[in-house]
Amino acid sequence: MSLIETRKLGHVYSQGTPLEFTALSDVDFSAEAGEFIGLIGHTGSGKSTLIQHLNGLLKPTSGEVLFQGENIYKDKQFTHQLRFHVGLVFQYPEYQLFEETVYKDISFGPKNMGLDEKEIDRRVHEAAAFVELSDEVLQASPFDLSGGQKRRAAIAGVIAMEPEVLVLDEPTAGLDPSGRESLLANIRAYRDKMNATVIMVSHSMEEIAETVDRLYVMRKGTIAMSGTPMEVFERAEELQPMGLAVPQITEVFTALRARGANVPNVYTVEQAVRAISEMKGGAASC
């Protein structure tokens, strides 16, 4: 049994009106405990609609969503509780900050869970530590922070609920390269410590290739492909028509092969370095 899965999930927006739009059809998605899952697809392919089903924000028009084998819509209370088990971080989450201090904002989720003061305090500090926010920042107003810090504060607000499944919609969009790297490292650290499942939507193939265990490729509301990054990025010629690409390093190596070089398939820079040094005869410097 998977921790969270969808069965023949379908969603139609504005059903029965001229604006009717099928956003998802027959989506079978599943994630195991501790897995890092990537979700890629062209804009409008249904990624955001899919993830909003995972914590019951949207109701499917067909099919079902199961958390630990139970239908998440079986009763209202269960759906409400589910939001604490499946934490969803929206795109540009910094626009949802509202409290006077970062501390209060991060404690919004745990407070809604009905935890006592001491537990809330512990969770806020732990969540802030995961995203590397200092105690000083916790007492500042969220509106005085830099863009990157705001993003971290907003993500901490979800992490503080200590969800078993953490879903993030383009968490690194608009951050500078070092900000991306460290945020991804923070997310990985959360998964390792809590043995949590992480589901991440991203448009950066490099990010996906370096981070996830398994990924789903969406096209026009359906799952077009799924598998390990290696399995998916091997099928580059199928990704291109979907408006997607393979990591740049994979492209370079494919081009090298086309010119007759005997190089293997790689999808991260690390693998590329290893492959080249092996060809040079084992010297691991470059």
């Binding site: 504005s14 909003q52 914590n55 924000l57 409400h80 939001r83 604490f84 934490g87 969803l88 971080v89 929206f90 989450p93 626009y95 949802q96 900050l97 509202f98 919004f108 989720g109 809604n112 869970m113 509106f143 607000g157 979800v158 609920m161």
Partner: protein, 267 residues
């Protein structure tokens, strides 16, 4: 849920009603409303209904969509009708306790309800067939004479255009923020009125902040394009009256005249 709000929504199309000059349509709506309030008899109401049906059939707007637009105002219509039923003196039909339903009361209630419904349908027909930009352009030109007495007509029209433009954006934004707070366990549906009002804070604060941010960005963008108010500003789309506009206005005036005549002769 929030997306179902149709206030001021425009349905693009290429019907006669869509092609009419926005100024013509604005004048016609004013004439139509005036006629509605002058109309008193069955015959004059029949004239108004015929005029409305003709306008609807000339547009591509579905009658169901128009009826839906009445829904939010249904309570006002019902209360107005009820007040008319109980407070109009005349020949009694039913009498119980302090209530006295009269024949005249029923009649005036029916007329009042019909008047409000037709008023709403007529004005919504205007916004359904006229883009917000065309509408504000029309209003600006019609109000131009007021510039002589220093009314900032252009600025008012620009403010209105911007406000209309941002309604869908703000609705979308509200939806997003609500979802984000719900994902953190916010509850907007239970509790007493104070608890619910307090639950709105996590939505309103981000919404206000993003509105100010948007306003700031828009102001900068407008200044970058050298916007400096209405003075000396020319238009990309000049409005010109066509034959059909003169015909439509003449027809509207004819209807108004007919209703006035019917009133004067007490028919």
């Amino acid at each position: 849920m929030l997306k179902d709000i149709t206030l001021g929504q425009f349905f693009p199309g290429d019907t006669l009603l869509h092609r009419l000059d926005p100024r013509t349509k604005l004048i016609l709506v004013v004439v139509y409303i005036a006629a509605l309030f002058i109309a008193k008899s069955y015959i004059s109401y029949a004239v108004m209904v015929a005029f409305l049906i003709l306008s609807i059939s000339l547009s591509n707007v579905k009658i169901g969509t128009l009826l839906k637009s009445i829904k939010p105002l249904a309570i006002i219509i019902i209360i107005t009708a009820l007040l008319n039923i109980f407070y109009t003196p005349g020949r009694t039909i039913v009498k119980f306790w302090i209530f006295n339903i009269t024949w005249e009361g029923l009649r005036s209630a029916a007329f009042m309800a019909a008047r409000i419904i037709m008023l709403i349908m007529g004005t919504f027909l205007l916004t359904y067939t006229t883009s917000p930009i065309a509408l504000t352009d029309g209003i600006e030109i019609l109000l131009n004479p007021l510039k002589k007495i220093k009314v900032p007509v252009h600025e008012l029209a620009m403010m209105m255009a911007i406000a209309l433009r941002f309604i869908p954006t703000l609705i979308e934004e509200t939806d997003k923020i609500m979802s984000a707070q719900k994902a953190r366990g916010a509850d907007f549906e239970t509790g007493n009125i104070f608890a619910r009002a307090k639950a709105l804070v996590p939505i309103l604060v981000p919404l206000f902040i993003s509105s100010f941010r948007r306003a700031d960005e828009l102001a900068v963008a407008m200044e970058c394009r050298c916007y400096h108010g209405g003075e000396g500003r020319t238009r990309l789309k000049q409005l010109h009256y066509q034959k059909r506009d003169y015909f439509a206005i003449a027809f509207g005036c004819l209807v108004l005249a007919a209703v006035i005549v019917l009133r004067v002769f007490g028919l």
